[in-house]
């Protein structure tokens, strides 16, 4: 860890990574990243394509496990507990660390069933009435309730792209996660839908620790309080968002932010 990063270490971090390295076969995609993610802010990961920000995000809920050639070294903890420890159940972990993907991926089921999917798997609802409450609460938090309350049994895939993405956020919220990882959640959406998602992120802040990967620097500036700049598998700079954008300490960060490359 560099001086900078230690200074930024957060009191009581929700998740923290120490010297995390990720390999795909022989190729090293992440070269020793240490970072703390706090409960109170939205953390943005920015950087040019292929810099490893999405790869690193996927280590936080062990989605890299589904890639046969991927190997993770180092330590990542959730509330101080190593998530790569043999005693950690990946099903439990993913219930606590939810994820929203780049392209909206609702299941080809009804809106209601999309939300009920997670609670059902984890046995969170005692009965139909209970499930109705969870579905309504999740959809309200995802800012989708008023738009879909009269057609809960229509297919989730029939919604517009932005609505689908909010449905996916609602789906993640329904299992009461502690952390929500968002992998470029707006890259497939138009500006209006993007604005709605950003607004939603503001509302969700504080209730969940949110980590968002984005290509869009304005978006990072708008929605996040902490920003991490990744380049070629390194965490180049991590700091308070306003500092990163107005007063970057590293040359590479400055070049990227001013549009020199990326």
């Amino acid at each position: 860890m560099t001086e900078e990063q230690i200074k930024l270490a957060i009191e009581n971090p929700k998740m923290s990574a120490r010297d995390v390295k990720v390999f795909y076969g022989e190729k090293q995609a992440i070269k020793g990243v240490s970072i703390d993610v706090g409960m109170d802010h939205v953390t943005a990961f920015i950087g040019p394509s292929g810099c490893g920000k999405s790869t690193f995000l996927r280590t936080l809920n062990r989605m890299n496990d589904t890639v046969a050639s991927a190997r993770v070294e180092g330590e990542i903890t959730l509330d101080g507990e190593n998530i790569y420890a043999p005693s950690m159940d990946v099903v439990q972990l993913r219930a606590r660390v939810g994820m929203v993907f780049q392209k909206p991926n609702p299941f080809p089921k009804s809106i209601y069933e999309n939300i009920a999917y997670g609670p059902r798997i984890h046995g969170l609802a005692a009965g139909k009435a209970d499930m109705d409450v969870i579905v309504e609460k999740s959809l309200r938090r995802a800012g989708l309730w008023d738009e879909v309350k009269d057609r809960l049994h229509d297919s989730g895939t029939a919604l517009s792209g932005g609505q689908q993405q909010r449905l996916c956020i609602g789906r993640a919220i329904a299992v009461e996660p502690e952390v929500i990882l968002m992998d470029e959640p707006c890259s497939a959406l138009d500006p209006i839908a993007t604005a709605k998602i950003e607004e939603l992120i503001h509302e969700l802040r504080g209730r969940y620790a949110i980590v968002i990967v984005t290509h869009n620097m304005q978006q990072a500036a708008r929605v996040s309080q902490r920003t991490a700049f990744f380049h070629l598998g390194d965490l180049v700079e991590y700091g308070v968002t306003s500092d990163i954008f107005t007063n970057p300490r590293q040359e590479r960060t400055k070049d990227y932010i001013t549009g020199r490359y990326g």
């Binding site: 589904t66 990946v90 993913r94 993907f101 991926n105 089921k109």
Partner: protein
């Protein structure tokens, strides 16, 4: 001049036409290019070569095809005009036998004559064959030259030879694809016609809804009524092909597809998938042996041992089980494609919710892949009910209307084979019944295929 010689000569002419036309086009185009105008030259010299070569070959080839069909008639006519033909018997059958023999001797396929009359006709035949042979060859060559010359004079630097050659290529592709369609139409027409003849002897209602099938009694003169009730056959077909075979094929095929797409390592998949698909390449007659010689006796012994009455050595179960195994690759490869077509993002979405692999398969992948799987199953059913060899060898001939899987039943395809390999005259109701059965089978499989392809197509669109 003999046939092969003419063909060889034509091929040579074609080659000469190609080379000379190409050379001429090249020369003209070199000159035209010197003018510097970009539109002065249209097609590559090779296209000019093909254009002239095709004009040389196609008219001559068409002529030869017609000639081969017309010439024998002309030859016979000129032989009959010969004085030696006056002594021929008037009876058509012996007349044509004598003519045929004379022809065979004249063209060198037979050494000597059995009938003295034909010996006298050999000389006139030989003369006529020579005459028309030479005439045909000369006409073909003239046509080749005329066509080639016509095309050759059209060579100009800006002549659009490429367009024309490509149009011809397209036309030949169209003809190739039409042949399959025309054949299908022909088959359907012949089925319809023969079925129509059958239904003029047997009431269609009795055929489709009657429960007594005994074409033999009709053939022995007991009348056509009540002998052609095909329901036991339809039932046997459905019982074996759509029920027993599917009870085997659907779960096994689906489960192997799930294993291969979701659990198997790439190495295992690389070996297992082709091995499984090899099952589809085993000739069905081999399955038939297996069913008749291995499975059927074992099943009968088993049924007798547990005290089931009416167990036969040719059972619906034996045929159905083996057919089910044969169908596994169809179901599994369709299911495999459908599951693999479900986007990875769907799978990731479910796993990220904390679902296990098996929950993801049961709750997301299979529901999403279901239409494709259903389409695959329908195609498999359509193949199973049209399958012949296994049921001929293992299912038996008794037209029983029974739900006992150990009993012998018969199927539509088995009966078609029986009816057509009998010694009945061709226009008897017994033989024609085969066509009516074939028509029913054709309509059912056609409908199944249409529905299945619709379902599969609709499903594919959902993810594109």
């Amino acid at each position: 001049m003999t046939g092969p010689a003419i063909l060889l000569l034509l091929a040579g002419l074609g080659a000469i036409a190609w080379v000379s036309a190409r050379a001429r086009a090249l020369r003209l185009q070199t000159v035209a290019r010197a003018t510097g105008r970009r539109d002065a030259v249209h097609s590559l010299p090779g296209y000019h070569g093909w254009y002239v070569a095709l004009w040389t070959l196609i008219p001559a080839a068409i002529f030869l095809i017609i000639w081969v069909n017309v010439a024998p008639g002309l030859v016979t006519q000129s032989v009959l005009a010969d004085p030696a033909a006056q002594s021929l018997p008037l009876d058509g059958f012996s007349r044509s036998a004598i003519l045929g023999e004379a022809r065979a001797i004249a063209s060198g396929n037979q050494a000597g004559a059995f009938n003295p009359l034909s010996q006298g006709l050999v000389e006139p035949y030989r003369a006529a064959l020579d005459k028309y042979g030479i005439a045909g060859a000369v006409l073909a060559l003239v046509l080749a030259f005329a066509g080639g010359a016509f095309a050759f004079t059209r060579i100009r630097p800006d002549f659009r030879a490429r367009t024309r050659v490509e149009r011809l290529v397209m036309a030949s592709l169209l003809i190739a694809s039409l042949i399959a369609i025309i054949t299908t139409v022909g088959i359907v027409a012949s089925l319809l016609w023969e079925s129509f003849r059958f239904f003029s002897m047997v009431n269609p209602i009795d055929f489709l809804f009657g429960t007594k099938w005994s074409p033999q009694s009709a053939a022995m003169g007991y009348g056509n009524d009540d002998a052609f009730g095909a329901v036991p056959l339809f039932w046997g077909t459905i019982f074996i092909g759509a029920i027993i075979a599917m009870i085997v094929a659907i779960p096994l095929g689906l489960m192997s597809a799930i294993y291969l797409t979701q659990y198997a390592s790439p190495t295992v998949r690389k070996w297992m998938k082709p091995t499984l698909e090899m099952l589809a390449g085993v000739p069905t007659v081999v399955y038939g042996y297996f069913a008749a010689l291995t499975i059927a006796p074992a099943l009968r012994d088993f049924a007798v041992a547990i005290g089931i009455h009416g167990a036969s050595s040719e059972s619906a179960l034996a045929a159905g089980l083996v057919m089910g195994v044969m169908i596994i690759p169809f179901v599994s490869s369709m299911a495999d494609d459908s599951i693999a077509a479900v986007p990875q993002s769907m799978r990731d979405g479910s796993l990220a919710m904390g679902a296990t692999t098996s929950e993801t398969i049961r709750k997301v992948l299979i529901p999403a892949a279901l239409p494709g799987v259903v389409g695959g199953v329908l195609l498999a059913v359509s193949r199973a009910i049209g399958e012949t060899m296994i049921v001929v060898m293992a299912a038996g001939l008794a037209a029983n209307l029974t739900a006992n899987p150990f009993a012998s039943v018969t199927t539509v395809t088995t009966q078609i084979v029986q009816l057509l390999t009998g010694d009945q005259e061709f226009d008897s109701a017994k033989t024609l019944a085969a066509f009516a059965l074939g028509l029913v089978l054709f309509i059912v499989t056609l409908l199944l295929n249409i529905v299945a392809l619709r379902v599969v197509k609709k499903y594919r669109e959902a993810y594109e």
